[in-house]
């Protein structure tokens, strides 16, 4: 069974999904980051495929992506690294990137390489729904890869339902109208939006992302969803920690999971 399905069926509350950019801070950081995140208590991991022009991402992720590309990260190498990490952990793994990367690699070849490496899901924020329906959904389903889509506070109810109808993975609930990497508390307006989405009773699990940066915002987000996604805050925590990525990762996850006073 797909590891994401298994995780969601287990009923584990407050799922922690941590994003990192593959190839940052070092080209060979992927395996130690994945195994340390799993050991420290993350429930699933989002592996960012570094991209030259990450439209939906803020400065933090863009910089880490530039660095990763400079370090020499490629999709072939990343699949090798994921294969190696998969030998050491059963934590669900999701790859996140931009559709041009998949298109150039070849959608069929990409999906089969990801499945073979032990990936469980994909997030491709700029893949249009109609193109997904036409070709990609079938490819992904045949390889048992779940595909997640994003919704935002501006997404109409009709469209949320449309996304709910085709999304095979969790729903990525973007917390606010912004790019990634903004921090600050969760406002009343955001909480009202989370409640509105919950009232729609979508069949998929929901994870809240964007702007989740510490233990407090993680707890608040979890009150409205099955869990939350942290990305930029983790990338920032890795800055300058090239030589002790494992320790930095552990400390970060412990900081998020610590009880909030």
């Amino acid at each position: 069974m797909n590891r994401l399905t298994q995780l969601f069926r287990s009923g584990t509350p407050d799922l922690l999904n941590v994003y990192f950019t593959a190839g940052y801070p070092r080209l060979d950081s992927t395996v130690p980051i994945i195994t340390s995140l799993a050991a420290a208590g993350a429930n699933l991991i989002e592996i960012g495929m570094p991209y030259s022009d990450p439209m939906a991402d803020g400065e933090t992720i863009q910089r880490s992506s530039m660095r990763a590309l400079k370090n020499g990260m490629t999709l072939d190498l990343l699949f090798e690294q994921i294969t190696e990490a998969r030998r050491q952990t059963e934590i669900p793994l999701v790859m996140m990137g931009y559709y041009n990367q998949v298109m150039q690699y070849g959608p069929e070849r990409f999906v089969s390489a990801a499945a073979k490496a032990g990936v469980d899901g994909l997030i491709l924020p700029d893949l249009p729904l109609h193109e997904y329906r036409q070709d990609f959904r079938q490819l992904a389903e045949a390889a048992d890869l779940q595909v997640s889509f994003l919704i935002t506070p501006q997404t109409s109810e009709a469209r949320v339902r449309e996304i709910g109808a085709v999304s095979t993975g969790f729903i990525y609930v973007v917390s606010s109208s912004s790019i990634t990497g903004k921090s600050g508390g969760i406002t009343d307006a955001q909480q009202a939006y989370f409640a509105r989405i919950n009232a729609l009773d979508l069949p998929q699990p929901k994870l809240i992302g964007f702007g989740i940066s510490d233990a407090a915002s993680f707890r608040t987000a979890c009150a409205y969803a099955d869990g939350a996604i942290i990305g930029s805050a983790f990338i920032r925590a890795l800055a300058g920690r090239e030589d002790d990525v494992e320790k930095a990762t552990r400390e970060f996850v412990e900081g998020i999971l610590q009880p909030v006073a």
Binding site: S52, M55, M103, Q104, F149, V174, S177
Partner: protein, 403 residues
């Protein structure tokens, strides 16, 4: 009325090029625009306001000038479509006038734009001043330096110029920053894209606003040559908005050769180039499926051209379609040839063309044509903004003479 150009399909594709590859955060803005642009711009009140501003504010129609000395030199009947005589000095204002009227009808109060050479930034800042809207222009740090006069003009007009510091710090990066701004401001802001690039509906919308160029060319040529169609139209292509406008009414007229001139930079094979149709492959850039310069892994390659307006790693999906289907011919011209052509046109006709436009003139030596052929060159902009580059070039020529 039948569209004289080429219609995109319902999802914004020209053949297999175009579409809208955008993250969900952009969807509401793009959808609002897509749902409204055709109807709003077809409204007689909109057309009336648009036409009046083009006439009284921009100074249209722009002349179609028979360039006698250039004709003698090139050995063809050369006409120049004088977009350089528009208010603000380039074709860019045709589009910004259209989009600002649209933004007003959509109830937007804040305008953002990207700019390369600064012509689009100036044209945007100008229309914002005209209607009294806040204006923020994103511009690559490298371009801010090489196009200082336009930066000063934008500031004079009350726009805030924000430097894009990522990547190559040029047009591509300014576009990324503008898109991010739009994501962060999903309700009150309209993004005025300056070229026929970006997600649907931008390529089609901008092409329609620029189509006034070929609409006028038709009747002007009829007056001068007794026929509406030339034998060829030549235009430079970065994203391709002046080319889209100059080609538009001839797209379905196979008698007219359409010649798109790209920037070869230091040479197509030099690694420092922006000749997308030669170096590009099919992929996605700024929300559109088109030809772009990229690695095997789909990473977008940094382009290079001496001309900030052509320094872009993609081309609009309409041009990808035209080149792919062989309807248009693509030619690439190096920095050196463009500079030579700029100087030559200046001293032959007394017109200083923009560096971008100079590429179009340099295409003549690569083309075959007959002495009776009528050739329209879209003189997309004037070269005042490039005087620093031209001066440097003149100094180099002088040094060469002394050696």
């Amino acid at each position: 009325m039948k569209n004289p150009g080429i219609d995109v399909d319902e999802r914004g594709y020209y053949g297999r090029f175009g579409g809208a590859y955008i993250p969900e955060m952009l969807h509401p803005n793009i959808e609002e625009l897509r749902a409204n642009y055709r109807e709003m711009t077809a409204d007689p009140a909109f057309k009336k306001e648009f036409d009046a501003l083009l006439r009284d504010y921009v100074g249209r129609p722009s002349p179609l000038y028979y360039a006698k000395r250039l004709s003698e030199h090139y050995g063809a009947k050369v006409y120049l479509k004088r977009e350089d005589l528009n208010h603000t000095g380039a074709h860019k204002i045709n589009n910004t006038i259209g989009q600002i009227l649209l933004a007003q009808r959509l109830g937007k109060t804040r305008i953002i734009a990207e700019t390369g050479a600064g012509q689009h930034g100036v044209a945007t800042a100008t229309v914002c001043a005209l209607v009294g809207l806040e204006c923020i222009v994103y511009m690559g740090e490298v371009d801010i330096e090489r196009q200082a006069p336009n930066v000063a003009r934008m500031r004079m007009l009350g726009a805030e110029v924000r430097p894009a510091r990522s990547g190559s710090k040029t047009l591509k990066d300014a576009t990324n920053e503008a898109i991010r701004d739009w994501i962060n401001n999903p309700e009150n802001t309209h993004y005025i894209i300056g070229s026929v690039v970006g997600p649907h509906p931008y390529p089609d919308m901008v092409a329609r606003f620029q189509s006034v160029i070929s609409e006028e060319t038709k009747w002007q040529l009829k007056e001068k040559e007794g026929r509406e169609h030339p034998d060829a139209v030549i235009a430079c292509v970065g994203g391709g908005s002046n080319a889209a406008g100059a080609f538009y009414h001839y797209l379905n007229d196979e008698r007219v050769r359409l010649i798109a001139v790209e920037a070869a930079g230091l040479g197509v094979d030099s690694g420092e180039s922006a000749a997308t149709s030669v170096l590009g492959t099919e992929g996605i850039i700024h929300g559109s499926r088109t030809l772009l310069m990229q690695t095997d892994d789909g990473q977008i390659v940094e382009p290079y051209s001496i001309s900030a307006g052509l320094d872009y790693p993609g081309i609009g999906p309409l041009h990808a379609f035209l080149i792919d289907s062989k309807r248009a011919e693509a030619i690439s011209v190096t920095d050196e040839k463009a500079l030579e052509a700029a100087l030559f046109v200046t001293r032959t006709e007394g017109i200083i063309p923009a560096l971008e436009t100079a590429h179009a003139f340099a295409a003549f030596e690569q083309l075959e044509y007959g002495p009776e052929d009528v050739i329209v060159v879209c003189l997309s902009g004037r070269g005042d903004k490039d005087l620093a580059t031209f001066t440097k070039y003149l100094d180099q020529l002088k040094d060469r003479d002394h050696e």
